[in-house]
Symmetry: C4
Subunit: 320 residues, 4 copies
């Protein structure tokens, strides 16, 4: 096995495989979290100045590690199962523009940029926070989240469009009503939009509040309506998660039925089902339950059309 | 093809057809959004006065375009599939009172009204915001939204009635308790209703807050109860969306089963299913998944333990 | 038909029957709403004093009508289908302690009480608001609402218990932390509970806010946790509505299958299904859809065990 | 029956069994609630000092009872069905480290600790509040709650991770934007995190509000996004409850089908179903409904169009 292949296995193979791979993954996760904590602590002026040197050293150390990690990932990406190893440069360039690689690049780029451009310290801190996104490498649960989000974009889009129309309309109305009474806070429609968003998301800071009787009357309607409309996208998304889960369970159920067609689940069938369950982000418990349920449902007798005898589609039918 | 027919195809045919139709649609969408942005910017006093002439010119230009669009739509509406072309005037009048045509009319009417009546500039702005509603022409996702809303009006109505009763009751109670301590903010039941709505929608500006011990005690109950009740309509609506989706999937499933009754989905069957899926606002992916699932369930083969022959558990297996 | 029977039909029969029944029902609904509006308007001091006489006259008029209605309902209650007409006094007493009769009684009792006891005007207003509850007589949609609520009391109870524990725990913790820094607002655990409820329901007036660093840190956890926990009961209730609806649809589906067992839905079967659908608060559309779906699913072939020939369970099988 | 066995039955048997067991359970529940109320009342300085002696006496009394209860529970735990009675010390030690026993221990430990260490009175009160957790002994509904929570930890974890990332990112951005304008409230990223959490949970105290135009613009986006993301975990959890319920109903349905395979539910089958329903936290009503539905689906009879004989579409119909 070449060094490149070994590095690939070390870096990219799933966390649950070798010990070295696990250790490296854990180390990088800890380093990312430590970086985020360091940025948060450093932003506290007194604390940040006192340990300025330490923070700088830790930042340089992190950037060095992340840079090595980034370069290694670019180097070994040609070893990936689907990659075209015969055109290494093209493959690597394509990898460099993938989402995961860009996140890794953004985690180190601002540091090197400071040698050429003078970035305000506070904005630099904000950019260093992007290192947090590197964690998505290790978070498998996000897949289904993103999958549902992409699938439901049109429906969610319609809800967001409705929210937008409501915000703009509410702001225009309240601007027209309250402008005279409070010219300093309802001075223009954009100012009124601040009120509209703060109100309809139910944040309600209280820095901008209608004072006229008519303004309060209309605001009450906007609140009652707004609460419902703004809460809809989240509620719908949650419902779609339920739907997605059900769809995946149906998929697994179909395969379980397939495996049960000979009356029982063999070892190799079970391995396939386990793999599919993992792929679909379903738990081992769900699979167990499903097999039990389907076996019972299948415990039905039918007549063989060839010999006209009864067949019991039970768990042990194949062994009879 | 007559000019009227050509204009109809240009204006009313679905966005995804001809290039000219697409371009015109995109142009009108951009113009609507630009109008809304213009109204928002113009409301900023200093900015609005500086570019007053530009804003006015853009408004006149938009009104001209929208007027031409409106007149063209009224002119060509007799070409619509279900329209009665033999009675053009009656057909056009009916179209002019449809929801879509009224929205188009409201987008231009205020401008012409200003020649006759003196409308306050702020209210005029509010009316120009109605142009935003023209976007509903191009937003297909809203259909299911409105469909569910209309279907569930009775249930939603009961929830809104409960909210209303709760608001009025809470306001009366808090008015009775807090009137003495804070006569200026809990001076009458309508004032207390402002508190009740601000509290039960969880906006909580903090401009009106109970100060007596008993008032705070009752307010805590109202909050805990109110949060649940006010959030119900949105949550129920979201649940109904899920239900509607499931119903539609069941409909599609039934047709898929029908198409699969001969063991496979033919090309013409597939075209029908595609059309039905589009009609039901279901994605191509959902259909694909459904066909796969149903095929597996129906296409299972087992071995008869008596005669050792294969049996295909399909729809007509019993008839073989 | 006796006068008592006629009065019963006039008062208690469903709104959708006779014209006189409809008119009386509408009149009482209008009177209830007018009463609520009158109480709200009268609470405005200046307005209330100016028209004091008118408001008083309207109140007396309403009480007279509601008293006549109440007495009539008590008089005719023995005509109800399930009532025991042989023991009129016992039947009437039992009716008088039913929920609907108590609401009617509470709507008029405070007025008569004022002749004997001196009730503060503000509390009297609050009591007159109870007339609003008389509307539940006419609101059919609330049935399913109450039915689900009663069914899910244990689950909802567990959620409310969790909320209570969280409120008491959060209040104790914040009292311990913030007591020293803000003795006037975090002076005791009950005071801290006001903060806890205002925060966890996300109302957030801002009248009580932690100021110490540790207090803010703990408050952040309480907020993030509290938002989830407090929103749970409403979300769960909404989910149960979905479940209830599904259960009812399953019930209807079973009956549809039963009706379809001979291949088609006869007129009398259809009438039964319509009645069941109405009883289950399901729409005509849902029923239509269900019949269509089930017919397709049943379009399967099975073998008759007697003559071994294939039977197609289609819509027209009975006519073949 | 030995004394230890009797004590076990008195303490640990289900509430619904013997009268003595019920009375003891009720007494302990009342004592726990009384303790919590006492701690709340005592925290009110004037009130607490006036009745200081009474509160102290009640506390000592409660601790004595709870200590006896704790020791008794440890003593009798070897009588539990699954416990190893041959190794009493090991069994008791294992019990002492179980969740329920630790909660019982925490309810009394602080009192005894005060003899050795000097704990601040306010923190002591907080610790006494832990007695509230003893109620979990008697609250059966929480089981399903915890079961769902544990099952869905990965999904909920992904949602919480997203919330965390959003909070940290929003805080960094707002710190960068608002630091100059409001150095006292946006002085460091931790301070900005207070704003981010208060805003994204929609609590919105209003103690920290962006004032710059750009800050308000970004805050509007954060609010609209945050409302959706923060509400997701609760909505998802509620959806999972629905899913869990459905899964359990499917499980019960499978057993009902099994019981119905001979055409009817026998008494012993019914007892098994009742037990399973209770075990799955499903109501008697649900079971009743399920049996009715499944009987209808399976018990349908049709007429064979060829030989005009009745066919019962039951599980073994094909085998008849």
């Amino acid at each position: 096995m070449s060094l490149r292949q070994k590095t690939y296995n070390l870096l990219e193979k799933d966390l649950s495989r070798s010990l070295a791979n696990k250790l490296l993954g854990s180390f990088i996760i800890v380093l990312i979290v430590a970086n985020v904590i360091a940025v948060i602590l450093e932003s506290h002026q007194a604390f940040g100045q006192q340990y300025a040197y330490g923070f700088y050293a830790f930042n340089v150390f992190s950037v060095v590690i992340f840079t090595i990690e980034y370069l290694a990932r670019v180097w070994v990406c040609v070893e990936a199962p689907g990659a075209d190893a015969s055109q290494p440069i093209k493959t690597r360039l394509r990898y460099m523009f993938s989402a995961v690689a860009l996140v890794d690049f953004l985690a180190i780029a601002p540091f090197y940029l400071t040698f050429f451009i003078n970035i305000d310290l506070r904005y630099l801190r904000m950019l260093r926070m992007l290192r947090l996104l590197k964690l998505t490498h290790y978070f498998k649960g996000l897949d289904m989240f993103v999958c549902v989000l992409r699938k439901e974009l049109p429906t969610i889009g319609a809800a967001i469009f409705t929210v937008m129309v409501l915000v703009v309309m509410s702001a225009s109305i309240m601007y027209a009503i309250e402008h005279q009474a409070q010219p300093e806070v309802f001075g223009s429609i954009p100012s009124a939009m601040w009120w509209a968003v703060v109100t309809m998301t139910t944040v309600g800071y209280g820095d901008v509040v209608p004072v006229t009787v008519f303004g309060k009357f209309i605001a009450m309607f906007i609140m009652l309506l707004g609460v419902g409309i703004v809460a809809l996208p989240a509620a719908m998304l949650a419902a779609k998660f339920g739907d997605e889960l059900r769809l995946r369970k149906q998929q697994l159920e179909a395969e379980v039925d397939n495996a049960l067609s000979d009356g029982y689940v063999s070892k190799s069938e079970r391995a396939d089902l386990d793999q599919l369950a993992e792929q679909l982000d379903l738990s081992r418990d769900d699979l167990e339950q499903l097999i039990k349920n389907r076996t019972l449902v299948l415990g039905t007798s039918i007549t063989c059309p060839h010999c006209k005898k009864a067949i019991k589609l039970s768990r042990h039918s194949a062994a009879e």
